[in-house]
Symmetry: D2
Subunit: 465 residues, 4 copies
C-alpha cells in the first residue's frame, strides 16, 4: 500500500526519493504513553487555524443501507429525499458551508448514481477558481486495493492520498445521512483549545431512542476515559450515567494522529468508531468529547425517517428550521413552476415546488416536488416524495395510470417513494393496523405500521392496502 507522501517524506530513502513504502507496523505499539500528535505550536493563545484552509471533511454517503430498505433500494441513504425539497446529504454539506469548511469529500459506494449526480450538480462548480465545494470519491479499484471500501476507517485510509498537496491540520469525519445543525467552528475551537488528537461530538442529554450507538465516559475536563460500543442493544437499558454520553459518530481528528492510527497502529482496522477510536483511547492519545444539545436524528430506521419528515412540517419547529436565514439549507437549485391548487384544504403540511393539487384534503403530510393529487383524494400523516419529471399528456394516456395520486384515493401514514402511480379510488389506510408485512412484489411493504410504496410502483385503481 502506498502511504501518503506526508509519511513518505519522513522516511524517504536518500538515493531516489520516490519509494513505494512497505507497510510499517511498529514492533511494539506503545500503550498508555500519552501520545499526542497535535502540534502545540500551531495553537498558541487559543488562536486556532482558520477552517477555510486547514480542515477537510470526509462525508460518508452510505450507512447501513439495509436499515432503510426498500427506500435505499435505488439510492444511498444520504440521497434520501427529506422535507419535500432536499436530500439528506444537504444537511451535512450545508453545515460545512455554513461553518466555512470548503474542502468536502463525499465517499460513496452503494447505489451511488443519484447521490453522485445530486452532489456534482449542486456543489461541484459552485466556487470561483475551479475548486469544487464537494468532491465525490467513489469506491474504485486502485493501488490501495481491488476491493470495495471495507468500512469507514478503510475508506478514509484509501482516500488520504487525495489530500497530499493540501495543508490540512484536522479532518472532520461525518455521516452523510444525519439530520442536525451544528456549527463545526465551535467543535473545531474546542478541539484546538484542548489540543486534542480526537474530539468526539456527543449528545449532552440522554434520549430513549439513542440506542445502538456508542457511549463515551468523560472526566470533568471532558476528556474521554473509556468507550463502549453497543451494536446489538435495542432496549433502553443503556448504561448512560452522569459521566457517560452517547456518541454522534462525528469526529475531529488531527491529521498526524489520523495517519499514525490508520497506517501504523491500526493498519488493519476497518471501522472508525469500533476500532480506531477505542484504539486511540487505549494508546493514551488526547481524546475529548464535545457536548451537543440541539436536534439530531440519525435515521436509524424507516420509522425514524418518517418521524424526521413529520418534524419538518411543524410550524413552531425550533429544532431544525428549514427557513433560517443565517444557517440556510442548500440543495440543488431548481426552476420549477409554482404549485397549482384547484381547491384544497391543507393542514400542517409542507408543499414542495411545482405540485398540482386538485380538489383534495391534505393533513400532516410532506408533499414532494411535482406531486399530482387528483380530485377527491384525502392524504393524511404521509410522506410523498414526488416525481423526477413532468409527464406529457400523451405519455399519460399510454400509461393509463399517470404518476401521482389518483382521484378519490385515500392515503394515511404512508411513505410514497418517487414516481409512484396510484390509481383511482385506492385506499392505503392499513385498517387492520398491520405492523410488518413484506409485499415488495406488489409494490409495497409495511414496517412499524407505516406503509412504504416502492419507487416507481403502480397501484391499480380500486386497490385496498
Amino acid at each position: 500500500m502506498s502511504l501518503p507522501t506526508w509519511l513518505n517524506l519522513k522516511i524517504k530513502s536518500p538515493q531516489y526519493g520516490y519509494k513505494p513504502t512497505s507497510r510499517i507496523i511498529p514492533a511494539s505499539v506503545p500503550s498508555k504513553l500519552n501520545l499526542s500528535y497535535t502540534q502545540h505550536s500551531e495553537c498558541p493563545n487559543n488562536l486556532c487555524p482558520p477552517a477555510d484552509q486547514n480542515v477537510a471533511a470526509f462525508v460518508f454517503g452510505d450507512g447501513s443501507n439495509s436499515r432503510l430498505y426498500p427506500l435505499t433500494k435505488r439510492r444511498s441513504e444520504s440521497a434520501l429525499p427529506i422535507a419535500g425539497n432536499y436530500r439528506l446529504i444537504d444537511a451535512v454539506v450545508s453545515n460545512c458551508i455554513n461553518s466555512n469548511i470548503k474542502k468536502i469529500y463525499a465517499l460513496t459506494q452503494f447505489n451511488s448514481a443519484s447521490l453522485n449526480s445530486h452532489l456534482s450538480r449542486a456543489y461541484s462548480s459552485a466556487r470561483i477558481g475551479n475548486e469544487a465545494l464537494v468532491d465525490v470519491i467513489a469506491a474504485c479499484q486502485g493501488p490501495e486495493g481491488k476491493g470495495w471500501f471495507q468500512g469507514t476507517a478503510d475508506a478514509i485510509r484509501r482516500c488520504l492520498w487525495v489530500l497530499e498537496e493540501y495543508p490540512i491540520v484536522d479532518f472532520l469525519v461525518l455521516p452523510g445521512y444525519h439530520l442536525y445543525k451544528m456549527d463545526f467552528q465551535e467543535l473545531l475551537k474546542v478541539h484546538c483549545n484542548n489540543r486534542a488528537d480526537i474530539t468526539v461530538a456527543v449528545l449532552s442529554t440522554r434520549r430513549d431512542k439513542d440506542i445502538e450507538l456508542s457511549t463515551f465516559q468523560v472526566n470533568s475536563n471532558n476528556q474521554v476515559i473509556s468507550f463502549k460500543d453497543n451494536p446489538e442493544m435495542r432496549v433502553a437499558n443503556l448504561d448512560v450515567s452522569q459521566d457517560k454520553f452517547i456518541g454522534m459518530d462525528i469526529y475531529v481528528v488531527n491529521k498526524d494522529a489520523m495517519i499514525k492510527l490508520l497506517t501504523e497502529y491500526h493498519p488493519m482496522a476497518n471501522d472508525f468508531r469500533r476500532e480506531v477510536v477505542p484504539g486511540a483511547i487505549s494508546l493514551g492519545m488526547n481524546v475529548y468529547a464535545h457536548k451537543f444539545s440541539g436536534y439530531w436524528e440519525d435515521m436509524r430506521s424507516i420509522e425514524a425517517y418518517y418521524q424526521a419528515n413529520m418534524e419538518s412540517i411543524k410550524n413552531t419547529n425550533k429544532a431544525y428550521s428549514l427557513y433560517d436565514k443565517d444557517s440556510p439549507l442548500y440543495t440543488l437549485p431548481r426552476h420549477l413552476p409554482p404549485t397549482q391548487i384547484t381547491d384544497a384544504a391543507i393542514t400542517d403540511s409542507v408543499i414542495g415546488d411545482g405540485c398540482f393539487l386538485n380538489r383534495c384534503k391534505i393533513r400532516g403530510t410532506v408533499v414532494g416536488m411535482r406531486t399530482r393529487v387528483g380530485d377527491g383524494a384525502i392524504i393524511e400523516d404521509s410522506v410523498i416524495m414526488g416525481s423526477d419529471t413532468y409527464q406529457n399528456s400523451r405519455a399519460e394516456e399510454d400509461m393509463h395510470i399517470p404518476i401521482g395520486i389518483g382521484e378519490g384515493s385515500q392515503i394515511r401514514k404512508t411513505i410514497i417513494d418517487k414516481n409512484v402511480r396510484i390509481g383511482k379510488n385506492v385506499k392505503i389506510l392499513n385498517k387492520e393496523n398491520v405492523q410488518e408485512c413484506n409485499n415488495e412484489a406488489n409494490g409495497y411493504i409495511i414496517t412499524g405500521g407505516i406503509v412504504v410504496i416502492l419507487k416507481g410502483a403502480i397501484i391499480p385503481d380500486g386497490s385496498i392496502l
Copy 2:
C-alpha cells in the same frame, strides 16, 4: 459614427484598411425597386441555415415603463414578477432557448439593476465554452453616442458592432415583456422560404383589446402591402378587415437589410416599428407576415398584467402552460424551502416556493415566493409578489410590522408588490369600487379598480383601503 465592419469591409479604402467610415446617406434612396438583401444562394431547396449559428436575438428590456407605473418604479417592465416564480423576460428567453437560438442580447436602459442581475445570474454562464446564453448590453456612453438609446432602432444601430465577428444571417427583434410561447424556428423557416428581408409576426385573429398597435395589410402570399400605426387609438374601431392583421412587434430581419436600413436609408430613425418597418415597405423590400394564433399578452396596462397573472392560475390553461415538459419556462434556479401550511383553504391559486401560510383562505390568487400570510387572513383575486429574502425574528421585532400579510387582514383584487408589510386587520377591499386613485405617498394607487400596493410599502394595523 463607426459602422460595423460588415459594411466597412465592402467600402474599405485600398491603402490602410481601417477607416472610421463617415455616415453614408445615398444621394437618392431608391424607392420601389424591389430591393432584396437576402442572399438567395443561402436558402436552396428550402434548406435554411441552422438558427443555432446564424440567428441573433435582440430582446428589449424596457417598453414604455409609464404604462405599468408604479410597478415599474424600481424595475424595468421585463423584470416584472409573473406567475409566482418568474420574471416576464423569462418567457421570451425561454422561447429562444426552446427554439435553439443561442445568441441573445438583452438591451437595457431603464431601472435596469434587477433585470441585469436576474439575467446574469440565470443565463450568463449556463453554457459550455464561455459563451453566455444571454448577454446584457446596457445603454452606455460610447463612440456611437453620448446619449441614451433614443428608441428601438437607435438601440439596435448602436449594438450592431457587438456582432461583427459572428456569421449572423438573420436578426430576431423581440420585446422582453410579452407573454407568449412561439417556436421561432417556424417563424425563421417561413422567413427563409419567402426569401424575405423582414418577416413580421402578426395575430391571426382580431381581439378587441388589441389596440394601440400596428396593422399590416397583406396579399394572398402573406406579403405585406401596407402598414398603419395606431399609437393613440384606445377604442375598438380599429380597421382590421380580412386582409389586415395586428403586428406583435416581433420581427425577423435579414442582416444585410438591417444594416442598409439603419445606416443608409434611415440613419436617423429611432423607432423600429414606426419608422424602419414602414420604410422598408415603401422601399420595396420583401416584407412578409407570419400569422400566429396562440396566447399572447403584451402587458399594455396594469389591468393586462393583472389578467395575465389571473390566467396563470387556471388549471385548464392550454394557452400558456407553465408545466409543459417540451417547452419549459426557464428562470433563475433557486433552492428555497418548501411552502409550509398550517391550515389553509386554497382555491384556484398558484403558490410560489418557500411561503408560510397560516390559518388563512386564499382564492384566485398568485402567491409569490416567500410570502407570509397570518392567521385569519382572507385573500381573493389578488397578485402577491412575495419577498426577496426571509427575515430573521429579531429583524421582525425591530420593524414591528414584518414583511407579509398580517393576521386577520382581508385583501381583494389587489396587486401587492415585493417586500410589502401589511399589518393586522387591514382591509384592502376597495368597497366603494374606486376606479382611479393616486395615493403613492401612502403606499398605494388604484387603477381600473385594482389596488396596487407599492414595493416595500408599510400598511399599518387596522388600515382600511
Copy 3:
C-alpha cells in the same frame, strides 16, 4: 435482476403493476431470423430523430489500465493528460458536444478520483435547467449486483435503469480514451438510413499498428457478415482483405435491440465487443459498418500515447487540430497566468498555460500546465505533464527539490508525469538505449526506449538515467 421498465411495462402483471421481473431467457433463441428491433416508422423518408433528444452516449472511462501502467497507477486511462491542456476523455466528450449529443454517461471503475473530479467540474453544470452534460456513473454495489463491472456489456446492463425515463431511441457506445474527431451525426444518419440494429464504426484503411482489435467482414451494402476478434495478435499478419475492416470499438445500438441482447439473448455476456456484437450478428440482427478515414489513435501502449502527444506538436497537423473553431476541444476551464519566459529557444513544441521557462532549450516537446524549467536545461522529444498546483517559495525550501526540471538538466524522449521533482544537472538521456527496464522503486521505468518518470517522483541532483 431488475429489468428496465421499458421491458417491465410490456410484461407487467395485471394485478399490482410493479413486479421485480425474473430474468427472461427465451427457451429457444431464434437464430438467423433476421430480427430487427428498429422501429421502421420512426425513420420515414430518411428523416431521423434529432440526436439532442433521442441519443444517449455511454463513455467508458477505463480500458485495460495495465497497458499504460505506470501512467495509470493513480488515474484511469481516460484521465491521462494529453497535448498539454487536456485529458483524453475531453476528446470523446467534445465529439459528443460538437455532434449535439447531450446525454452522456461516463462509466468509471478504476482509479476514478481524478476522472470523476475532472468531469464533474468541467461538464456537470454547464447547462441550463439542471441537466448535466456528463453524468458520472461510478461502479457501485446495488440491486444489479454486489460486484464491480465485469466488462463493458455488464456495465451497460447495470446502467440501463438510469435512462428509464428518457425517450432514448439509440445508444452510442464509446471508449473514453481514444483520440479522434468524428461527427456522430453522420454515424447516426447512416445507422438510421440503414435501419440498423447496430452500426459499427470501422477504419476505412488498414494500418500496420491496428492490431489487437476486431475485424468485420462486410458486403457491398456495408452490412456486416462476419466478425473476428484478435485479442492476442501482436504481429502484422492480420487478415484484412478488401472486404474486412478493423473495428474502432464505437457502436450505435438501437435501444430495443440493446435491451433484448443484454437481458434476453446474452444475459451473461460481459464484453460488448467479444460477446454481444458477434451474438447480434449470429442472431441475424441488422449490423452495419460505417467507414471512417480520419486520424484515430486508440492508446494501446505507452508508445502510442507518446506518439499521440508528438502528433499534437505538429504545426501542419490536419489530422487532429486543437485549434479548429468549428469542432473545438473542450476541457475544464482554468484561469492560469500566462507562461513566463526568460530566455528560451523553443522549436516544434506546444506550451501549456502558466509555465515558467528560464534560460532553456525545448525541442519537439509537449510542456504541460505550470511546468517550471530551470536555467540551462535542455529538453527534447518529451512529454511533460506539468504540475497540479504552484508551490510557494517556503514550500520549495522545505522540499529541497521543487516541482519541475532543475537547472542544467538534460532530458530526451521522456514522459514526465505530474508533480515530478527533477533536481539539478540530471541527465535523462537513456544513452545506452535501454528498451525495457522497471525501476519503479526509484521513480521510473523504460518501455520501448521511452523513459517514464512516475507521478510525484523525486530525481536527485546529478542523477543519470
Copy 4:
C-alpha cells in the same frame, strides 16, 4: 429623490409608513462638531465585524476614459487587457475575493459592453445559493434620475437603495482600473480600531509620477487634518512633506456616515474625492489614513499602462506577482489550446494561452491570447493584446490579411489592440522617434513615443510606421 429605507425608517410618518421622503437639507450643517457616525458598540475590544457579511465594495468601472484613448474607444478603462490573460478589473475583484469580501458592485457607464460581459461570465454565478460575487450596476434612467452618473459620489448615491436589505456596516470605494495587491482586511481593521468614519488609503512613500492626485495631511495618530486636491498639476512640484501623503482613491466609509454625507450634508456633491471627502474633514468627522507601501499603478496614461505591462514580464517581480498561490489573480476561466511554437527565440516575455508562434523572435513583450506571429517576424518591447476568436482558414482567405502579425514584420515599442491584422513585411519601428501623432484614420496613433495600433485595424503588407 427617494432615500434608502435606512433613513426612511427613522423619519417615517406614523400613519402610512411608506413616504417618499423629500430631500432633507439641514438648515445649518454643523461644522467642526467632531461628528462620528461609527457605532462604537459594534467594535468593542478590537473585535471587528467580519467583512464577509458587513462590507460591500463599490468598484468604478470607468475612470476618465480619455486618458487611455484610443485603447478605451470600445471598452471602459477597467476592461483593458493586462498581462496577457487578464482585464484590469480582475485585479481589484481578486483583491476583494482574497480579502473575503463578497458583496461587490461594479458601477459602469462608459463603453460598458465588454466589461459587463466579462464580469457576468467570470463572477456572476460563482457562488452557492444564487448570490453573485460581482453585481453589475449599469447607469440607467430611474427614480434617482434620468441622467447619467454625474460622478463617483452621484453614482454611489443612486445605488445605495440596492443595498437596503443587507446589514452593511462599511463600504469600500474602489477604482476598477488600478493595479495593486492589498489585503482589505488590514485596511478594515485599521478603520475599525480607529473608529473612523472614513479611512483613506495613502501611499507611504512619494513617487515622482504620483501627480494629479490628492494629498492628505495627517497627525501622529494618522488622523487626517487637511486635504488638497491637485487636479491640474502635471509637474513634480507637489507639496508632499513629511506629514503629507498621496491618496490612492481607495476609501472605507461607515454606512451611516456615507448616507449622511451623500443625502444630508452634501446632497449635490458629484465627486467623492474632491467634494465628499473634504466635506467630511471640514465637518469634523473621524477621517484616518492607512499607509500602503506595495506596488501600485493607477494607469493614468498610455505610458503608465505600457509600463505596467512591461512590469508583468519581469521574472523577479516581487511587486505584483501573477503566480502567487496565496493571492491568486482571478479572471474568466477559459479552455484554450496550448500555445504552439514552431521555432521561436523568446526572451523576457509572457505568452498568453492559445498562441501560434512560428519562426520568430520575441523580446520583452506581452503576447496576448490567440496571438498569431508569422515566420521571420521580430517583436520587441511591445504589448500584443491578441484575438477574441480563432479564424477559420476560409475566413482568412476572404480577408486577405488574417488577424495577427504577418511574415517578416518587425515591431518595436508598440501596443497592438485586439483583432488587429498586420500584413507581411510591415515595419512598426517609429525610426524617427515621433513622440506624438494622431493617425486614427489609418489605424494608429503615437503617444509618448509608443505606437498604438487600434482595435481591428488592418495594416497592409509592406507598411512602414
